[in-house]
């Protein structure tokens, strides 16, 4: 078994079909548990009151927005350098979810900022970097969507994503240097987090929920892209023929019953 074993679009389509219900279930379960812990069980913050509870959405969304951009750039590069078709398609499937997470992080951040800072928006380092991340996602999507040839779109998108990924740290530090007003990060590596255990538990569960949701939604989109691009291959035709036969059987059963 080689690392490309799962890169065959037909095999991906079969396996993801089995995995998807479990991912959706995991996302729903973790989100329910996480929201229950976060909204009902976690204590009210001494300074921010109940307004802080939006972190259970805000922080995982912000994490996902960054992770997904790295994943996008990484898979796009793999697809470009080694010519792995599925990796290129995966990069394309990741972009809308990343854009959605970035937008979600920005909007929830504004909702959090209004009661705690008294303003919807400040031009500080983390907010501005997140906004620029949104623009990077937007640029990537605009570029790949306006190129009709999928091969060129994949490669051009990969180049842009890699250039963007090289630029992300430069942008982050330039923006941070430009202005800093944000509250310090609550969770940092190597230091005990300044949060109650139940808050941490809620955040952990919500993070898992976001991961499961992101995998699920990306797989759904990827399956659609795979079928669209491979529509002329034998396996997709066989799939289509099988489904048509199943429909006919079901229709016949309905007619006899």
């Amino acid at each position: 078994m080689r690392f490309t074993t799962f890169a065959a679009p037909s095999r991906f389509h079969r396996i993801s079909g089995f995995v998807l219900p479990w991912l959706w279930a995991a996302a729903a379960l973790c989100a329910t548990a996480g929201l229950a812990v976060g909204l009902l069980h976690a204590p009210t913050d001494a300074q921010q009151g109940d307004a802080y509870r939006i972190i259970f959405i805000h922080v995982p969304a912000a994490w996902m927005s960054m992770v997904l951009y790295l994943a996008l750039a990484g898979w796009a590069a793999v697809g470009w350098v080694w010519g792995v078709r599925l990796a290129s398609m995966l990069a394309r499937a990741l972009a809308p979810t990343g854009l959605a997470c970035t937008a979600l992080a920005l909007v929830t951040g504004a909702f959090w900022g209004k009661p705690t800072w008294g303003t919807w928006w400040v031009w500080d380092a983390r907010l501005t970097s997140e906004l620029i991340l949104l623009l990077l996602y937007g640029g990537y999507l605009a570029l790949v969507e306006s190129i009709d040839d999928p091969r060129r779109a994949d490669r051009a998108g990969a180049l842009l994503a890699v250039v963007g990924a090289i630029n992300v740290p430069i942008i982050y530090f330039s923006v941070r240097w430009w202005n800093t007003l944000h509250q310090g990060a609550s969770i940092t590596l190597g230091r005990a987090p300044s949060m109650a255990d139940s808050m941490l538990l809620g955040m952990g569960l919500m993070t898992l929920a976001f991961w499961a949701w992101a995998f699920a939604i990306v797989f759904v989109r990827l399956r659609a892209i795979v079928l669209e691009r491979e529509r002329d291959t034998a396996w997709v035709r066989a799939l289509g023929a099988g489904e048509a036969a199943a429909h006919r059987v079901a229709a016949m059963r309905g007619a006899t019953a």
Partner: protein, 222 residues
């Protein structure tokens, strides 16, 4: 390779020389855009002085990017670009020559005229010198980054807007350091840190942008 660079560079300058209006368009855009701001925000010298560094930098950024849409379009349309890439020469040298010519035609005039606008916005002498210096360091970065975008959007519908959309986020650091340096001098501080970072940015983009542009050209022409 140096020969190729020089030949292409001089060719672009000669082409621009024979069509001077095309080369002057971004320059005209810069002048008009910068002149519009006082009309929009009001003539108070204090406020204009405060806004001037960022304002001039943003106008320079937009003027540079607006002119980048045509960077490879003409040569792509008549097949010259394809022939050039087929010669087997280093694509990075071709991209570097193109970016250098673009900077000479749009960046350099901006460097020269920006102090004039600084005077209109009531900037001090030191700030004017810093403004020209940061534009001297920063506009090549914009030309280099922009040439990646120009190569990526080659031959696409609405390539011009697309190019601006994908290059602007990447140009944020240059904008921050460039206008930050002028603001620092205006506030009585040293601009050395900003200028050093801008120089580092220039070195990095001079090193990485030409090969990336060449790769983008190969993708577009494939």
């Amino acid at each position: 390779m140096r020969q190729l660079f020089l030949v292409l560079y001089l060719r672009d300058l000669r082409l621009a020389w024979r069509r001077p209006v095309d080369a002057l368009l971004p320059f005209g855009f810069f002048v008009i855009a910068a002149a519009l701001f006082p009309l929009g925000v009001g003539p108070e010298p204090q406020m204009l002085r405060q806004m001037a560094p960022g304002l001039i930098w943003v106008c320079a950024l937009l003027a540079t990017l607006l002119s980048l849409g045509a960077l490879y379009a003409g040569d792509h349309a008549d097949g010259t670009l394809e022939q050039l890439m087929l010669t087997g020469h280093d694509g990075a040298a071709i991209a570097a020559a193109r970016a250098a010519a673009h900077w000479t035609l749009t960046g350099l005039p901006l460097v020269l005229v920006a102090p004039l606008f600084g005077v209109l916005f009531d900037l001090s002498g030191d700030a004017l010198a810093t403004l020209a210096f940061t534009l001297l360091l920063g506009t090549p970065v914009l030309s280099l980054l922009g040439s990646i975008g120009a190569a990526l959007t080659l031959g696409l519908r609405s390539a011009g807007v697309l190019l601006i959309l994908i290059v602007l986020p990447l140009a944020v650091p240059a904008l921050i350091f460039g206008s930050g340096a002028v603001a620092a001098v205006e506030g009585g501080q040293s601009a050395q840190a900003q200028c050093s970072l801008l120089g580092a940015l220039l070195l990095l983009s001079a090193l990485l942008a030409p090969p990336a542009t060449a790769a983008a050209l190969r993708i577009a022409l494939d």
